[in-house]
Subunit: 239 residues, 2 copies
């Protein structure tokens, strides 16, 4: 590693740290079972995720002020209830389902890898998820964050430059002492443009059969790893 | 406890969670020894803390925009170098000394008590210390925060109402589901005025011989405890 030394790792979360597709699919299937509803729940989960970028785009393009991802997830869920003809669900049940995004399960290598990385580096979430979502997920899945940063602290969604730069600034570190860890080449591209270091972690099953990109690193990122444990090895973190 | 249930505990940190006076006194004494300087280091530590409120007051009164506490601590340290006739200290040494505030030691009951409290509640720092300071302190002293909130996230120093209200908002919780834990009656007073619940933890030696207030609870706070372990007992947190 060239100087200056990396001090903090900033993590993309959905897809990189946790398996949102597996978790959300399991949650919507269980929801369907509870309510006696037969639908294509795998498609429902993918559709829910597909509405994520357009919803954030309204904020990025300043068509609306900053709103938390929980709110965007809920608006998108309400749209899917219409699309999938789901009616008569109580507010409590709907809210519980919306909070499925707070109960995402990490990939098997995530927690052991992060625990090793944490011995050498500050670990912060740098997700588009809001603070409460990230706090609840961390408690649910024992993610060892030193700080919850990202969109809500920066008041800007990735890949806006402010989202990266304000996260570094929150740690009182220059961008070159921060490294984004992500499974998405485009996210790393945006971070590199802001001066951050970059680590790609391969998650080739994130989108399942629908995955079309991010089967491997498409640039010479500072680190390229197959898992968080592999990243901990490559960054020379003690066992 | 009356409804609605408390979900999150927000902690004052300097004095409540950590013994700033003991830690800073030890650091400045060691600094003096390294540099062969004989001064009244206990007075130096107290003077450093005494400059804290006036410095924040310039921000609270909008005489200047929001600046991180690390910057205020450094400005105050530079003033004390003049007052105590300390010259010729390198930038690196001065910065290291300024970061003594990142290396504060918890009271003996803090970590065991917080670990129990964390089983039932979200724990967040709600300090005037900046994010980097709080992250480094947590790593130094194994403080089990779920989130670092407080002045820098709220862009307002306590006891401004915004500092309390924006911290609750960051957790997506109404104030009545958040409880401030503090050793300072005035801090609890300000939090209660914002609708938060309140827990007083007695720290009668925080200021040593100079302590003039906060020897005990001066109001009917929701909880009154002698230590974090006592608070965990009173809040019925499992061993």
């Amino acid at each position: 590693m060239s100087n200056p030394a990396v001090m903090a790792l900033l993590f993309d979360v959905f897809g990189t740290v946790v398996d949102w597709r597996g978790s959300i699919t399991a949650e919507v299937k269980a929801f369907g079972q509870r309510h006696g509803l037969e639908r294509d729940w795998e498609a429902f989960a993918q559709d829910w995720r597909a509405l994520y970028q357009p919803a954030m785009e309204e904020v990025r393009s300043a068509q609306r002020g900053f709103v938390k991802l929980d709110v965007l997830h809920r608006e998108n869920l309400d749209k899917l209830f219409v699309k999938y003809d789901i009616v008569g669900i109580s507010e409590e049940d709907t809210d519980h389902l919306n909070r499925a995004w707070h109960r995402l399960t990490p990939w098997a290598d995530t927690v052991p890898g992060m625990n090793r990385l944490r011995r050498r580096f500050i670990l912060a979430s740098m997700s588009n998820g809001n603070i409460a979502l990230m706090v609840n997920m961390a408690r649910y899945s024992a993610l060892p964050w030193d700080a919850i940063l990202g969109a809500e602290v920066a008041r800007a969604y990735k890949p806006m430059p402010e989202s990266y730069l304000r996260s570094c600034e929150a740690l009182s570190l220059p961008p070159e002492q921060c490294m984004l860890v992500a499974a998405h080449n485009s996210d790393l591209e945006a971070a590199r443009a802001c001066g951050l270091r970059t680590a790609y972690v391969n998650r080739p099953t994130e989108y399942g059969p629908l995955q079309t990109v991010d089967f491997n690193a498409t640039s010479d990122w500072d680190f390229i790893a197959d898992s968080m444990i592999d990243l901990a090895d490559k960054m020379e973190c003690p066992l």
